[in-house]
């Protein structure tokens, strides 16, 4: 049987754990009681600490280094220099297989780990020793502003142009697990252009042309747990404790770096204190285990823990940091005829997507004429990454354009949305036929989402023309909404084993970084319902190295990959269990055990609540525990343990019949059927410039909510992150020195509980998603969309647009002409 044959949806399937509220999370007690262990908490016998030198210059090369004082500092155990013969100039595949120096001698931004790593008895000793190192720097010109970067040609980074192309091509040639991301090194200045239709014709057809500028300033992930890497070199069997979303990738990397079998490498995946993509996109986020492995090997196998401090973790930005120029053609009724966007990105966009910024127009609207021109400005500030997530540019652009059209034309934003959406507010004949053909429900997700959101926020009563409503408290009132498709991410691969233990409990075997999205609980829910077991009888061993790598928590797609994996494994296991219950086990001349249900066929039996019973006479029943235990005891096995394995490569979208995957040649052409709509209400104080987000409504068609409490967590959690991004988050550099000024959580403000009003999460379930049970991803949508919804809401409140995120009080007062 092909694995994909297990993906069918079962008509009328009844769920006990799936979709249930109040399921006891598998991770929650540990986290609430303080017993959950994170990499930052781990202290092993004999463990040493390590710290890397941070470049004090925004652009410089090491031309000489005296480390003698550091080497003789009491408590220092090893000093690893970039000119060490074993690593000098060495480039290895790092995170996502992307190449990086083991330890560079060149810094492209202030704070870059460079030159030397010191290992010692304590972190303090390492920090003190680093201060004793004398470095001779060759200092180069630098640039901090992306627009400056495009204008100037005196700042040339190593990593730009042909030299680097050769380097990473060479690294990729050696790289056994190169993937689409492996071309990412230091991106060169470059330009991308994407055009659909005839942009000039579109502008001519318009009644009005709207032109405006926008900007998203530098922001980052600010993960709660600081990065760290621990390696213990147990002879030929290294052991890693990993703070990273990609656990299995470290095995591949270690195997490649040290030319050893993967089977000798052990990985541990403790709980992960946030991450939001960001850190694990940094090429060296994996390579730091090369350094700790090397140091541990040289230090007699003492474990080495490389630590980063809070400031170190601020050197990395989000891929949407850019300056934009917009030109929009619109008819008086709100029909958009053309959108042209020119963007200058800061160190991005990283992924080679020429339509970055216009993507959601293509996917959601029927605007016929689109133009996107992207220019990469290379600045000395560190790499930019997918920080929950790479769609931020797309969400910023669609929110800003639709906000301007609604507010400048004085039109209801929900009507502008429906006027321009790809399905005219209801599904087209094409979609209706598509759904019918592939056995999907005939539901109109967009309409359901918008109606639900309008009702929850009181849109019809509260919406008004821009700048029209002053509240009794003296503040200006504003409303905004946006809609989009389901979160994309049909990517992903994973595998897991499922073992029925001798006491009838179930172990799901698959390693995975738990970043807190409750997916681990959801997998147990799926396994329980598919097997007919009680939820509490199923456990996922995600922190243990079981040899199986589940899909990583990336791209809002882990559940839609691992959900299939677990379902496949559980369906196979149920069949195996019923076969065993009906037929027993017999081996010629060897062990045997009689059937637990003699005279019955597997098809006569079923399982519910961890009990196997005869379907026609449920009084004939035995617990799963009794069935597997009766015939198995210590050192005297009468039958093999029931064990199954399954895997899934996502991307091949499947459906109720499994047919679509075979018929759709290009799976990316599968239309978006599940929609999302977001609403925001604000009050703006025109005297102080303070914004209060007084109400947020997030409507997400998640297809099927496996764990509704977890879905809501991504909705309100995303809304808070968005409120933070929109109002306060900005990293600032000194233009004269190129030094970051606010790399700490006192000066880089993230939202507190007081910084967002009530959030109403609404779940819509149309079962039209691409995942199991018709589910689709939710992890990134709200955090992405809500951030740039603040601009349209403030525009609606004041009648003045402020498209420069974060929208701080000074920008409000400036826009109002008060400062």
């Amino acid at each position: 049987m092909k694995e994909a044959d297990l993906d069918y949806e079962i008509e009328g399937q009844q769920f006990t754990a799936i979709g249930k509220r109040g399921i006891r999370r598998t991770d929650a007690f540990e986290k609430a009681s303080g017993t959950a262990i994170y990499n930052a908490d781990i202290k092993l016998p004999g463990m040493l600490y390590a710290r890397a030198l941070a470049s004090p210059h925004p652009h410089a090369r090491i031309i000489g280094m005296d480390t003698s004082k550091a080497e003789s500092y009491p408590g220092v155990r090893a000093v690893l220099r970039c000119d060490d013969p074993e690593i000098k100039g060495k480039i290895v595949p790092g995170s996502y297989g992307a190449p990086w120096y083991v330890l560079p001698d060149y810094a492209a931004w202030e704070g870059e780990p460079v030159g030397v790593v010191v290992a010692g008895d304590t972190k303090q000793i390492c920090d003190e020793a680093l201060k004793l190192i004398h470095v001779d720097w060759e200092v180069f010109p630098f640039v901090i502003d992306e627009e400056d970067a495009v204008r100037r040609d005196d700042v040339k980074l190593v990593g730009e142009g042909q030299l680097d192309k050769e380097r990473f091509e060479a690294a990729n040639a050696l790289n056994p697990y190169a993937n689409v991301f492996s071309g990412v090194f230091r991106i060169a200045k470059g330009e991308h252009r994407y055009e659909k239709g005839d942009i000039e014709k579109g502008f001519k057809e318009a009644d009005r042309i709207l032109e405006f500028n926008g900007r998203r300033r530098w922001h980052t992930w600010a993960q709660p747990e600081l990065p760290s890497a621990i390696t213990r070199w147990n002879g030929g069997y290294p052991e890693l404790w990993i703070k990273h979303q990609h656990v299995f990738e470290h095995k591949q990397a270690m195997s490649f770096w040290f030319d050893m079998p993967i089977s000798r490498i052990t990985t541990h995946a403790p709980y992960q204190g946030g991450m939001f993509g960001g850190w694990n996109w940094m090429n060296w986020s994996t390579v730091i285990h090369y350094i700790t492995a090397l140091l541990s090997r040289r230090l007699g196998g003492r474990p080495v823990k490389l630590l980063f401090n809070r400031r170190d973790d601020f050197y990395g930005g989000s891929m949407d940091i850019a300056v934009h120029t917009f030109k929009v053609g619109v008819k008086n009724d709100g029909t958009i005829t053309a959108v042209a966007i020119k963007s200058i990105f800061s160190n991005g966009p990283k992924a080679p997507e020429p339509n970055m910024g216009i993507g959601h127009f293509l996917e959601n609207t029927r605007i016929p004429n689109l133009l996107k021109e992207n220019i990469s400005g290379i600045v000395n500030k560190g790499p930019v990454n997918a920080v929950r997530c790479e769609q931020l540019t797309n969400t910023y652009c669609i929110n800003t354009v639709f906000g301007h059209v609604a507010n400048e034309m004085g039109l209801d934003a929900t009507e502008v949305a429906l006027k321009n959406d790809g399905y005219e507010g209801h599904d087209t004949d094409f979609l209706t036929n598509f759904k019918r053909r592939f056995g999907l429900p005939q539901r109109d997700s967009l309409k359901e989402c918008i109606e639900a959101g309008k009702k929850a926020i009181g849109w019809d009563k509260k919406w008004h023309a821009p700048g029209a409503v002053k509240l009794p408290n003296g503040k200006m009132h504003g409303m905004a909404m946006v809609w989009t498709h389901e979160w994309n991410s049909k990517r992903g691969a994973g595998s897991a084993g499922l073992l029925i233990e001798p006491d009838g409990s179930v172990s799901l075997l698959g390693q995975r970084a738990d970043v807190g999205v409750v997916a681990e609980t959801a997998y147990c829910q799926i396994a329980a319902d598919e097997l007919g077991m009680r939820f509490e009888d199923v456990s996922l061993r995600q922190q243990k190295d079981t040899g199986f790598a589940m899909m990583t928590p990336d791209g809002s797609c882990n559940l839609c990959t691992n959900g299939y994996v677990v379902r496949r494994a559980a369906r196979k296991a149920k069949q195996a269990l019923l076969d065993f219950a009906a037929n027993g086990y017999e081996e010629e001349g060897g062990p045997s055990s009689p059937p637990a249900f003699p005279g019955y066929k597997p098809g006569d039996l079923d399982i519910k609540e961890s009990v196997i019973f005869v379907k026609k006479d449920p009084s004939i029943r035995k617990t799963v525990r009794d069935v597997v235990r009766e015939v198995q005891c210590v050192q005297w096995w009468k039958h093999p343990q029931i064990y199954t394995y399954a895997w899934k490569q996502a991307g091949a979208w499947t459906d109720a019949t499994g047919a679509a995957a075979k018929e759709l040649v290009d799976y990316s052409q599968r239309p978006h059927l599940c929609r999302q709509a977001h609403f925001m209400e604000v009050e703006v104080d025109t005297e102080t410039g303070k914004i209060d987000i007084v109400k947020v409504v997030n409507v997400n068609d998640v297809g099927k909510a496996i764990n509704p409490d977890a879905v809501e967590g991504q909705q309100y959690g995303g809304a808070y992150m968005a409120a933070s991004r929109a109002q306060t988050e900005e990293l600032v550099w000194d233009l004269n020195t190129g030094v970051m000024l606010n790399g700490n959580l006192l000066d880089y403000k993230i939202a507190t509980i007081l910084d967002c009003g009530p959030i109403e999460p609404i779940i819509v379930e149309t079962a039209m998603g691409y995942g199991p049970y018709g589910a689709n991803g939710i992890g990134e949508d709200v955090a992405d969309h809500m951030a740039s919804l603040l601009g349209p809401a403030v525009h609606n409140a004041l009648g003045v647009a402020i498209d420069d995120l974060p929208i701080t009080p000074d920008k409000i007062l400036k826009a109002l002409g008060k400062i």
Binding site: R24, G34, V515
Partner: protein
């Protein structure tokens, strides 16, 4: 000139002929332990258990609890008193253990999230029930802050809860769930409906 004595009282400089005489003098005249404690040795109670530990002058209470004693519930998120993740209760008040020098905690009594959980405080289960965590890294700090709030104010309003938690950062944005969890714990403590493991 008399011969120098090896037995000089550290409090009044009086000299004695032997160690026993010096000890008796210190106890009877000054009401002190006969020998001063070595520098850096402190005694403090953590979750009801007494600890005698040697600390450096710059050791923080967080480092003492997390690294030396090994109670890893208190977390390091911001490193400078901005996030509340390292919160512990000292003599009834929630304090930031990363901003407190251990050497100043001699004789103090400290309660950590582990102690709160060990005492079966209802907050732990209400946090579980209401999903008041995602990645969970900041959660212990919230639980400790909430416990300190309920100790002082057994029936807080939602605004009082939000105000009390305003110094705790959660990057995952679990904030809306905390007032629910804390309000339910308050109700349980006051003899309201008992919570169920959901």
């Amino acid at each position: 000139m008399s011969a120098p004595s090896n037995y000089v009282c550290p409090y009044c400089a009086q000299k004695f002929e032997d160690n026993q005489a010096l000890k008796s003098h210190v106890v009877t005249q000054h009401g002190k332990e006969p020998l001063p404690r070595p520098y850096g040795l402190i005694g403090l109670t953590v979750n009801g258990q007494h600890h005698e530990v040697k600390v450096e002058a710059n050791t923080t209470l967080y480092e003492l609890i997390h690294d030396q004693i090994g109670l890893t519930g208190a977390k390091m998120f911001c490193d400078r008193g901005a996030c509340g993740s390292c919160t512990v209760i000292m003599d009834g008040r929630p304090i930031l253990s990363c901003m407190t020098l251990a050497i100043e905690c001699d004789g103090k009594s400290v309660e950590t999230v582990e102690g709160i959980a060990q005492a079966n405080h209802p907050l732990v289960e209400t946090y579980v029930k209401h999903h008041a965590m995602q990645c969970g890294y900041c959660t212990p700090g919230f639980v400790v802050t909430a416990k300190a709030l309920l100790d002082k104010n057994p029936d807080p309003s939602e605004d009082e809860i939000r105000e009390a938690l305003a110094g705790n950062l959660c990057r995952c944005g679990t904030y809306p769930q905390h007032p629910k969890a804390i309000a339910e714990a308050a109700m349980i403590l006051q003899g309201g409906a008992s919570h169920e493991r959901g």
